[in-house]
Amino acid sequence: MAEPFIKLSGVKKSFGSKHVLNGLSLSVDKGRSLVVIGGSGTGKSVMLKCILGILQPDLGVIEVAGQNAIGLRGDARDEYLRRFGMLFQGSALFDSLSVWENVAFGLIQGRGMARAKARDMAIEKLGLVGLSADVGNLMPSELSGGMQKRVGLARAIAADPEIIFFDEPTTGLDPIMADVINNLIVDCVQRLGATTISITHDMASARKIADDIAMIYKGEIIWQGPAKMVDRSGSPYVDQFIYGRADGPIKMDVLKG
């Protein structure tokens, strides 16, 4: 059996006395789309940041394509990061740059591509997410939330990465725009043949874009399986989350009057 393309084993990360990841283990095969579901503060974003090296795990192993991903520096780190694209929850577009400069940023600064060529590529990627070339000259502040997400998606796929992370891709969007984004994600991922990890609360989004689903709870993966099996997971935690029930094994810290 082939080794997983992305593999996390026993990853732990704490901030002071707060233990966010408690020995998290996860694997994603090449070309698969994994969606990680879980409540707020369960460690989803920290997990992605550990894989990217933005945060250093306290313990554990992270491997991408068989390569150790922890503690990389200099050229090795740059080379490692070139495999990735990421769509951030709030899009994280650079305010001071125009839309096309945002999309082309990784090509110009990260890969040293000439501006004119990078601009053409940026306009092409904007076209893939349904935005016209005119939008390229606007500033991010002139765009709606949905358009910003699409620009963020164009930026994430601009360099045709092998791995793409989607952090809450549909949060804050109306249901129609959320579905548009989901379709674009599926379309772009299929086109690139990329391996993806998405984190979301939105089950409609998860069902649409996932090949596999994993549930994170208290910093650990408590269930992972094919997306079509999520309704028959046999886990009361997964059932409570996907059906949005207040009662169940997951207790929310809500003070009652």
Binding site: I54, R82, D95, G110, R155
Partner: protein, 263 residues
């Protein structure tokens, strides 16, 4: 009440530990800023943009501060001198005071309020909106892309601003001395020229170099370490200005001791 609750040493110890931890974080950030931020490759576009923002756009503020300070200094020196000595004391002390102390210190404080605060606010907003994380995913080191150019711009701009501020400050003293106080203009210029002013200007420029570094370092450090949304960014901005101002005044004392202490 337990004895631990009134233990005087506990809060003092906490304060000392917090202070030491902060000094350690600043030292590590300084190391990264110097080793990573100032090593090749250089983002020339960013350096140019920051030179414009730190240097060119600060010029009016520094010029006005210097002009009025030179004028006020002339008035105070005139008040403290006799009519026979005023003609010598006013131009010489204005030149000395502006070039050695007031020019670099006031320019440093004004630029820290203007530019240091803007750096902290901009980088703090980038931090809390994950733009700095986005840089990492785009294979761009945030320290190299954001901190390096700001350090270079501040270290280059401050001496230039102080040199211009020195000239305008002396002009302010000249303007008030000759127009308001009735001093002879030719004698004023002659006394100013005899002050071996270039030695004093050189010391001021050395100070400006250090102040530029402090302003950019504090602006970037507090911006990069801001957390918790708008309130966190506001706190970072305040901390950047306050810490830069204190460090500028402390560095000024140390540099004055080194440059003039033996005389």
């Amino acid at each position: 009440m337990r004895i631990e609750d009134i233990n005087f040493f506990a809060p003092v110890g906490r304060l000392v530990l917090t202070l030491l931890a902060e000094i350690g974080r600043v030292a590590l950030f300084t190391k990264d800023a110097l080793l990573v931020g100032l090593s090749p490759r250089y983002f020339w576009g960013q350096i140019g943009a920051q030179l414009f923002r730190v240097g060119y756009t600060s010029l009016p503020v520094v010029a006005m501060t210097a002009f009025f300070t030179g004028g006020a200094l002339a008035l105070q020196i005139y008040t403290g001198s006799s009519p026979t000595t005023a003609g010598t004391l006013v131009p010489s002390i204005v030149a000395l005071g502006i070039t050695r102390e007031l020019g670099p210190v006031l320019a440093g404080l004004m630029v820290s309020a203007r530019v240091g605060a803007a750096m902290a606010a901009e980088l703090g907003t980038m931090k809390v909106t994950e733009q700095t994380d986005a840089l990492v995913t785009l294979s761009t080191n945030p320290i190299k892309y954001l901190v390096g150019p700001r350090l270079v711009a501040a270290v280059v701009s401050l001496p230039l601003l102080v040199a211009i501020g020195d000239a305008i400050g002396i002009m302010g003293g000249y303007f008030v001395g000759t127009r308001n106080l009735g001093l002879n203009w030719a004698s004023y210029l002659k006394v100013t020229a005899e002050q071996h002013i270039f030695e004093d200007v050189r010391s001021g420029l050395i100070k400006a170099l250090a102040f530029g570094f402090i302003i950019a370092l504090m602006g970037c450090y507090h911006g990069f370490n801001s957390k918790g949304g708008a309130q966190g960014v506001g706190r970072a901005t305040t901390n950047a200005v306050v810490s830069a101002a204190i460090l500028i005044l402390a560095a000024n004392f140390v540099l004055t001791s080194i440059l003039f202490g033996a005389h």
